[in-house]
Amino acid sequence: MKSFSLLSRGTGVAFLAPAGLLIGAFVIAPFFWVIFVSFTNRSLLGRTAVDPDFVGLANYFSLFDAATFFTRGEFGSSLILTIEFVLLSAVVGQAALGMLLAWLLQSVPKSLKHLTETVAIGAWILPEVVIAFAWFAFLDYENGTLNMIMEALGFPPGDWLLSFPFWAIVVFNTWRGTAFSMMLFNSAFSSIPPSYFQAADVAGASSWQKFRDIGLPLIRGHVVTDLILITMWSFNVFTPFLLTSGGPSYRTEILPIYTYRIAFRDFDFGKGAAVGVVVMLINLVFALFYLWVMRRRAKGVAA
């Protein structure tokens, strides 16, 4: 089979070379460098900064040490926290809420639909730092908006960031990311021919029946895509740091914050790199699963 080409093979390679070099220098080389560092006790301060020792798998053993695995502030506890965070804020929060909003938007007046979309997109495009400070002001114990509302309604004020830190970041991430799922599902629903729903209306189907038997099955592929993407994003999100700094007492120290603390607050580069490698492997699993699903969809199996 002869393939079409605008340029000769040599020219094509020459044009790609600069990009390839940059990717090599800034993506591939650091990747292997991190793997290498994870086998050493390299640090930023102290003797091991200048003269690190090769420690083999010691960093990995310390991450998966059964004696401390579940202790708060250690790798295992942070991993479990991250999984809970992803399940609650991404799968239940962003995806389910996004789905609900998208479904409800199908049957409301156009103006209300546009308004909702605008607000949701607004939440999505604002810079992370701005959002975090807004939430901080909202949840503050002494002068926070939420507590003012609580008191106005006759409820006792809550110390949200100290008493319920984990729920604070779950709600925060849900709020932050629901717009994406909503928009994705919204456009997916819009692509279903209206005649399907009209026929169901004639047959007297309820909204739930239409959703279960027509809406959901037809957008299944989008749901899978959405779930994989938001799972990956939430797994790697660092923004909760701006809200709680991982505290109090590590109760919101999800993996990205844990990695940051080990590497850039304790300056333990070796162990930090080991965490990085484990996180990379987990992400690789997500990515492979995503590619597999996309390929199935491209072949028309899942869509």
Partner: protein, 450 residues
């Protein structure tokens, strides 16, 4: 014609710039100092006295800028460590002396004489600086920077609140932890929603937790963080007593503001509590008097000279403190170091030496009176400083001059946080500390006294 003239002048200007590169130089200083914010006096002194004075001395070619760093001490440490390791950063940097060993071992600092040569060894200032003051910014006999002075730690007292509770502030001096707690209980009974006692704890306050809180209690049990052979003590009655004191104050009796120990901006909250009369007894460095409560600061205390006094920190029981003392305190020193990556090392040293010249330090006294490291700088007329230093310098202690101390100190902060948050019991927290310190320094460098 006009355009030609322009071009002529421009190229002439360009030519002069290229022809004489040695004349112009830029220097930068960074410190945790913000005019109107933290360490306001330091920022004002550098901007209004040091920089104009130095540029006047060196001529127009030299330009000095001050970067006012508004973050926490820990954030500045983080920034400097990453800057120095990548060849970036300011030429002259504000620095806490206890970090010098770990930076030196990490290859991030170089001795002053290695950086700027003869100019350093021949500096006339050395003859006015005692060995002890020099040691504040030295490691293994080599000076890496110059300290602005040393400090001591005391209990700052709100006399007005004590009077309200029927205690005579003039004669108030606790003799033991029990005395201290008794007073706190009386104050708490008088005002149930106040937090009479503040002993720093937790991770967010960083080294202020270790220095102002943990050390001040631990020394009162007769122990230090290390033993006399330099081994880190990882389990002992002293550590347990200290953690139990924290537990009494923050968990069992709520004598202190537990939230302030756990929140990111906790230390500022403790300052605000003192300013607002919610806290009557607060352990801090004399920096609290010199800078935090000074009249133009955010946490200035109204009628300071009437309502604010101080007392010595007692040992757990009389005579049970370190070296058998009845009262304890600990000193540190902050100052400035040179960035080994500086393009203008000699010039940077000249700036550092200029900052520490007799004239500039005398000028600094007008912004912030304190005891300076040079013996030829007059001691400021400040009764508070004279009294505290006279009473406490003979009793004082210093942190271990050790590259691992920084990492161990972070574990101390985690241990106290686990206790004051109610997360772990003192025994559990100490056993976690033990494991962590063994990981950091190796078991052979630790000792268990239990």
């Amino acid at each position: 014609m006009r355009i030609h003239l322009h071009a002529f002048w421009l190229s002439l200007a360009a030519a002069t710039t290229f022809a004489s590169p040695t004349i112009s130089a830029d220097l930068s200083i960074t410190c945790r100092c913000v005019e109107g914010g933290v360490n306001s006096e330091l920022a004002a002194w550098v901007k209004k006295s040091v920089i104009p004075g130095f540029t006047k001395m060196k001529g127009d070619g030299v330009k000095v800028t001050l970067t006012e760093f508004a973050g926490s001490d820990e954030q500045l440490t983080q920034q400097l460590a990453l800057d120095f390791s990548t060849g970036a950063g300011p030429d002259v940097a504000g620095f806490d002396g206890f970090l010098i060993p770990s930076f030196v071992e990490g290859g991030l600092l170089k001795p002053l004489d290695e950086l700027a040569g003869d100019a350093v060894t021949k500096w006339d200032g050395w003859s006015h600086i005692t060995e002890g003051s020099k040691a504040l910014m030295s490691y293994q006999g080599k000076a890496y920077g110059l300290s602005l002075g040393t400090d001591v730690r005391v209990i700052f007292v709100r006399a007005d609140l004590l009077k309200e509770a029927g205690i005579d502030p003039a004669s108030w001096q606790p003799k033991s932890w029990a005395d201290l707690l008794d007073t706190a209980r009386k104050l708490k009974a008088k005002k149930p929603d106040s937090f009479p006692l503040q002993i720093n704890a937790g991770v967010p306050m960083g080294e202020a937790t270790t220095m102002q809180g943990y050390w001040m209690a631990l020394l009162g049990t007769g122990e230090e963080v290390t033993d006399d052979k330099g081994r880190y003590i990882v389990s002992s009655q002293g550590i347990l007593d200290t953690l139990n004191l924290y537990k009494t104050v923050y968990v069992d009796e709520k004598l202190g503001d537990q939230r302030a120990q756990l929140l990111g901006d906790g230390r500022n909250r403790t300052f605000a509590n003192f300013r607002d009369g919610k806290t009557a007894l607060l352990l801090e460095s004399d920096w609290f008097y010199r800078s935090v409560t000074a009249s133009d600061s955010e946490f200035a205390v109204e009628n300071r000279d009437e309502v604010m006094t101080w007392a010595k920190m007692p040992a757990k029981e009389p005579g049970k403190g370190i070296r058998g003392q009845d009262f304890v305190t600990i000193s540190g020193g902050t100052g400035f170091v040179l960035n080994p990556n500086s393009d203008e090392k000699e010039l940077a040293w000249e700036l550092l030496a200029f900052m520490n010249s007799k004239e500039q330090l005398a000028e600094f006294q007008k912004y912030e009176p304190r005891i300076r490291i040079r013996d030829d700088v007059e001691i400021a007329e400040a009764p508070f400083l004279a009294e505290t230093s006279q009473a406490l310098l003979p009793l004082t202690t210093a942190r271990p001059n050790d590259a691992k101390y920084n990492a161990v100190s972070a574990e101390v902060q985690r241990m106290t946080e686990a206790v004051v948050s109610g997360e772990l019991s003192p025994e559990q927290a100490m056993s976690r500390y033990r494991e962590a310190v063994i990981r950091i320094v190796g078991e052979e460098n630790t000792v268990s006294l239990l």
